[in-house]
């Protein structure tokens, strides 16, 4: 039964743009945060609803002061504070791990958005520019330097990592990484007017050999 439910749940997670079907460390961390929070939320929701339902039982009159201490101080203050502190620490630590940090094997690429197209550039290949498709090596951290030349956009490859905005005049860095070679869907995730619906890009993750070839020849 448990196995079946889990299998069904996992099957429902799949999708080219699914955040709960992670294909890289950042997306995996965040998906894990989601499942932890979901379980916690369901438990808290059940508790609160049970308290609401139990209020309809007939019962003896209560002592107002003690009652107030229980409901306001213990349940209203102490309970959320404990839960939130734990969650905050957990989220903060995870967020720190996702930040772009210096490292020997970090690959640097640029992403420049303009309405309905992304142009990608590569620190390793001077002068190379690819439109709509970003090439990265699989299994290595990639820092994407993101900006925009017209309105605000957002760089989002859901199976690899979270999103960050492309803002005119600013450059934001997002760390992405793909576990395995493959093709990953990306979307611009900030409303940009007509054309927003299919404002998409793809991330192609290469195995080491194919990445070497790409860097040398500039073609995949």
């Amino acid at each position: 039964m448990v196995v079946l439910t889990t299998a069904l749940a996992l099957a429902g997670c799949e999708g080219a743009l699914s955040t709960v079907d992670p294909a890289g460390p950042a997306a995996r961390t965040i998906a894990q945060i989601w499942w932890v929070m979901l379980m916690g939320a369901v438990a808290i929701f059940a508790l609160v609803m049970a308290l609401v339902a139990l209020a309809f039982r007939a019962r003896a009159p209560v002592d107002e002061t003690r009652h107030e201490r229980l409901w306001v101080v213990k349940l209203g203050i102490a309970f959320p504070v404990v839960v939130l502190l734990a969650l905050l620490a957990y989220g903060l630590a995870a967020g720190e791990r996702l930040l772009p940090r210096q490292g020997a094997d970090v690959v640097r690429v640029g992403a420049e958005a303009r309405r309905s197209a992304w142009a990608f550039s590569y620190a390793d290949v001077a002068g190379l520019r690819t439109d709509h498709v970003l090439h990265i090596p699989a299994g290595r951290p990639v820092d994407v330097a993101i900006t925009s030349t017209d309105v605000i956009h957002s760089f989002w490859a859901p199976r690899l990592a979270g999103k960050i905005d492309a803002i005119p005049g600013h450059v934001n860095i997002l760390r992405i990484e793909a576990d395995a070679p493959g093709v990953y869907a990306g979307r611009s995730a900030e409303f940009s007017g007509v054309g927003y619906d299919d404002f998409a890009f793809t991330v192609v993750a290469h195995d080491p050999a194919s990445w070497e070839r790409f860097i040398r020849s500039g073609t995949p």
């Binding site: 965040i30 929070m37 808290i44 306001v72 209203g76 939130l84 967020g95 979270g162 409303f191 007017g193």
Partner: protein, 827 residues
């Protein structure tokens, strides 16, 4: 005077004109509250129809129902209407209708201001409706992010409708907030100290103060963006020293408090109704007041959680993440206090209680997903997906619509004097509840599967088809539920079964009157000793009608009331209200000419409208006051009170102080914007600073200082019975000096179209100039009042009001001049 005679006399004094004419000239809070609620409910239906169109569009993949051009208008208007034309006005209407009744008095502080706000709301709302009917509605999203909404990427008039129309509507929010704050602080029944106020009044007070400090950043943002669009001042264009992020900061500085501005009144409704439904009193009154206040403060510290993906450093985000999760604490206090109230009493499933249970179920889910998105890494995935759409609807529908529906069923017998006859409400509740959760619960999941917000269509292979179809079906069930609520209301209006008085056995004062309520509310004002005056004394209603309270003997056809000391509730002044007038609707119409002229770029009618508003405002203020001193008024029970024109802290002073609080927030946001551009925007420093001019700076600063001194000398001269006019003349000259210095900044600023620095100087200089001229106008008005005999050593109330404005003008202009001249001086 017997009970019936008193009723007739008071009705004659307080009634609005009969028939349709009364709509346009009424200043009565019961009328205006009902009108506000009716119009806001109308907009709720319009917004609801738009929501149906969105769900029809998204029901299936490859939808060809509406193209993106139209679809963008639909979702932009859905959000805009629900936020600005439904939620906020519903609070305003509810507060206007209820507050004087709950506080045991006869009207709000500034009846004509209520009417002016109402008409600004109606006219501004009509502008947006017209844009929608013509197919040129705003289409940049309700959050209007530039550069998308800037002149380059949205050249059409659509965005201008939003910026100008919403600013127009916001006049009503600011007006109502001033009105509500002064009313709660000063216009209460004798004896009602702050700790004896009905809990709804506390919530309304906190909400109104939040509107005063939350709306100005958005008003500023709208003005700056409109200046960029109309005159090319580049506040949000990175290559000219602007920054599109400035808009996001200003917008969310408003936008997040806005969420609590919507939730807190609803929480006030819950705190009022729930104990009655449970036949008990509210648990933890003081805790609830403290947590509502705490929530208000916290809500101003968390706007950045809408900007987690804009590239702000992670440690900065951590602070806002902590603040955002912290919000769950005061919310938790209120939630558990409510559940504790249920445990304390004996809850019964009467009609309003059903919607309160709907609130608990829905809002708790919305709160939990809210905590989730406050966790930064998760938000990087969830941001701008359907998960957020689902979350915000759980919060707003759960935290606002369910409580308001509960309030609707609870106070309907009060408004109509009738009891519900057909049991349609229960069925309507079931449909609304089921429909809502079917629509939105699974929407969380498609969000996680990658469905972005605001897309107009999607592909079958995206895998979102089933969930979207279910969601759309649910939305139609929800719509049928809302339609049944309307049918229930219509039946209620046509079936005449009298409700008994106080049908829910509530203890608050709004039930201590006949229903529907008379124009004057209370034939005599109660003396309040507890939070449940009506529960303590079930005979109270009759005793007040018999004239056993204060101000039971009408005099000279005056609409009379009294004010109290803020904290203690001890009566302090006697009030005579203005009566029915068309001045508010006229002034709102001329204000509308101002905004429409800007919209259509008929710039030659703008000054005409400004002159028109000035003349009307002059008449507005002129018609108050008197040319003879009034003797202290005996209000009954051996008390006498001085008239409010003969004191130094009159209601007008309070109103001005609060309006200036909003104004100071606006000014603070402007300075923040300047500092933000200077430090964060690319393309700084600007090519050239303003060349500093010592004479100009000196003129302005000396003018400001002189004004502050001389207005005080004028007030003192008046108090001593001397001639105040020379001092007023000096203040006038001083204000003109400030105006000249501000004019210098405007004229000498580097070309505003070239760099955001010059543009900012232009706005700062204009702000100083406007306030200097406004102060000069007020001094001219006061001089005219002195000449015509409206002041005397005891009729002194107008001097402190003008002093406030002169002081504010002096402080703000000095700051502006220093900020403008300093960089040039240092360079």
């Amino acid at each position: 005077m017997n009970t019936l005679h008193r009723h007739r006399r008071l009705t004659e004094i307080w009634s609005s004109e009969t028939g349709a004419r009364g709509l346009f000239s009424t200043v009565n809070h019961t009328d205006l509250g009902r009108m506000f609620l009716a119009v806001s409910f109308f907009f709720f239906l319009v917004g609801g129809v738009l929501a149906m169109l969105i769900r029809a569009q998204l029901a299936t993949p490859h939808s060809a129902f509406a193209g993106p051009e139209i679809y963008n208008q639909i979702f932009t208007m859905h959000g805009t209407i629900m936020m600005f034309l439904f939620a906020i006005p519903t609070f305003e209407g509810l507060a206007m209708y209820l507050l004087p009744k709950m506080l045991g008095t006869r009207d709000l502080a500034f009846p004509r201001l209520s009417a002016y706000g109402f008409w600004c709301y109606v006219f501004g709302g009509m502008m947006l409706l017209v844009s929608m009917v013509l197919g040129i509605a705003p289409d940049g999203g309700w959050f209007m992010y530039p550069p998308l909404t800037g002149p380059i990427y949205s050249p059409g008039i659509n965005t201008d409708f939003w910026l100008i129309g919403i600013t127009f509507v916001e006049i009503s929010a600011i007006a109502a907030a001033v009105e509500i704050t002064v009313s709660i602080l000063k216009y209460r029944a004798p004896g009602m100290s702050l700790d004896k106020m009905p809990i709804f009044a506390w919530y309304a007070l906190v909400t109104a103060l939040m509107i005063l400090t939350g709306f100005p950043p958005l008003i500023l943002g709208s003005i700056l963006l409109e200046l960029e669009r109309a005159f090319g001042l580049p506040f949000f264009q990175a290559e000219f020293g602007g920054d599109s992020l400035l808009w996001q900061h200003l917008f969310w500085l408003f936008g997040h408090p806005e969420v609590y501005i919507i939730f807190l009144p609803a929480a006030g409704v819950i705190s009022t109704i729930l104990p009655v439904m449970c036949r008990t009193t509210l648990l933890g009154y003081a805790w609830i007041v403290a947590s509502a206040t705490g929530l208000a403060f916290l809500s101003f510290g968390i706007w950045v959680h809408h900007m987690f993906t804009t590239g702000i450093p992670h440690m900065g985000l951590a602070f806002f993440s902590a603040a955002s999760t912290l919000v769950a604490v005061p919310t938790g206090v209120q939630l558990f206090a409510w559940i504790g109230t249920m445990w304390k009493g004996r809850p019964s499933l009467r009609m309003p209680m059903l919607h309160l249970l709907g609130f608990f179920f829905t809002f708790v889910i919305g709160g939990l997903t809210g905590v989730m998105v406050a966790v930064v890494p998760f938000d990087w995935q969830a941001h701008d997906t359907a998960f957020i759409t689902a979350h915000l609807h759980y919060v707003l529908f759960g935290g606002f619509v369910f409580p308001i529906l509960a309030g609707l069923y609870y106070w309907m017998p009060h408004v109509s004097g009738r009891a519900r006859f057909f049991r349609l409400g229960e069925l309507a509740f079931a449909l609304v509840f089921i429909g809502f959760h079917v629509t939105f619960l699974a929407m969380h999941w498609v969000g996680l599967l990658g469905q972005r917000r605001r897309i107009s269509t999607y592909l079958p292979e995206d895998g979102w088809t089933t969930v979207n179809l279910i969601s759309s079906i649910g939305s139609f069930v929800l719509a049928i539920g809302i339609a049944m609520v309307i049918v229930d209301l219509v039946l209620h209006a046509f079936t005449a079964r009298r409700s008994r008085r106080d049908p829910w056995q509530a203890g608050t004062l709004e039930w201590a009157m006949m229903t529907p309520p008379p124009a004057y509310n209370f034939a005599s004002l109660p003396h309040v000793d507890s939070r449940q005056p009506l529960a303590d004394d079930p005979e109270l209603t009759l005793r007040l009608a018999r004239g056993e309270g204060y101000l039971s003997e009408p005099e000279q056809g005056w609409r009379e009331s009294l004010t109290v000391e803020v904290a203690t509730g001890k009566p302090d002044f006697h009030i005579i209200y203005p009566t029915n007038t068309r001045l508010p609707i006229l002034m709102a119409a001329v204000t509308g000419v101002f905004f429409v002229s800007l919209l259509l770029k008929f710039y030659w009618t703008v000054p005409l409208a400004v002159v028109g508003v000035t003349i009307l405002a002059w008449r507005w203020a002129w018609s108050l006051g008197r040319t003879t001193d009034l003797p202290p008024r005996s209000i009954g029970r051996g008390l006498t009170l001085p008239n409010a024109t003969q004191v130094s802290r009159s209601p007008s002073w309070w109103g001005s102080a609060l309006l200036l609080t909003a104004n100071a927030t606006f000014f603070g946001s402007l300075l923040f914007g300047f500092a933000f551009l200077w430090t964060v925007a690319p393309s700084w420093p600007p090519p050239a600073w303003l060349t500093s001019s010592a004479p100009e700076l000196a003129l302005g600063v000396i003018g400001a200082g002189l004004g502050v001194v001389s207005i005080r000398r004028a007030a003192r001269a008046n108090r001593k019975g001397q001639d105040a006019r020379p001092w007023l003349g000096l203040t006038f000259v001083a204000a003109l000096g400030v105006a000249a210095a501000a004019g210098g900044v405007i004229l000498r600023a580097p070309t505003p179209g070239d760099h955001a620095y010059g543009a900012t100087l232009l706005v700062l200089g204009s702000y100083a100039l406007f306030h200097a001229l406004l102060a000069a106008l007020m001094i001219a008005f006061l001089t005219a009042r002195v000449v015509k005999g409206f002041t005397s050593p005891s009729r002194q109330a107008e001097f402190p009001v003008v002093t406030l404005w002169v002081d504010y003008q002096a402080g703000a202009s000095t700051l502006i001049l220093v900020v403008a001249h300093l960089p040039g001086l240092l360079a």
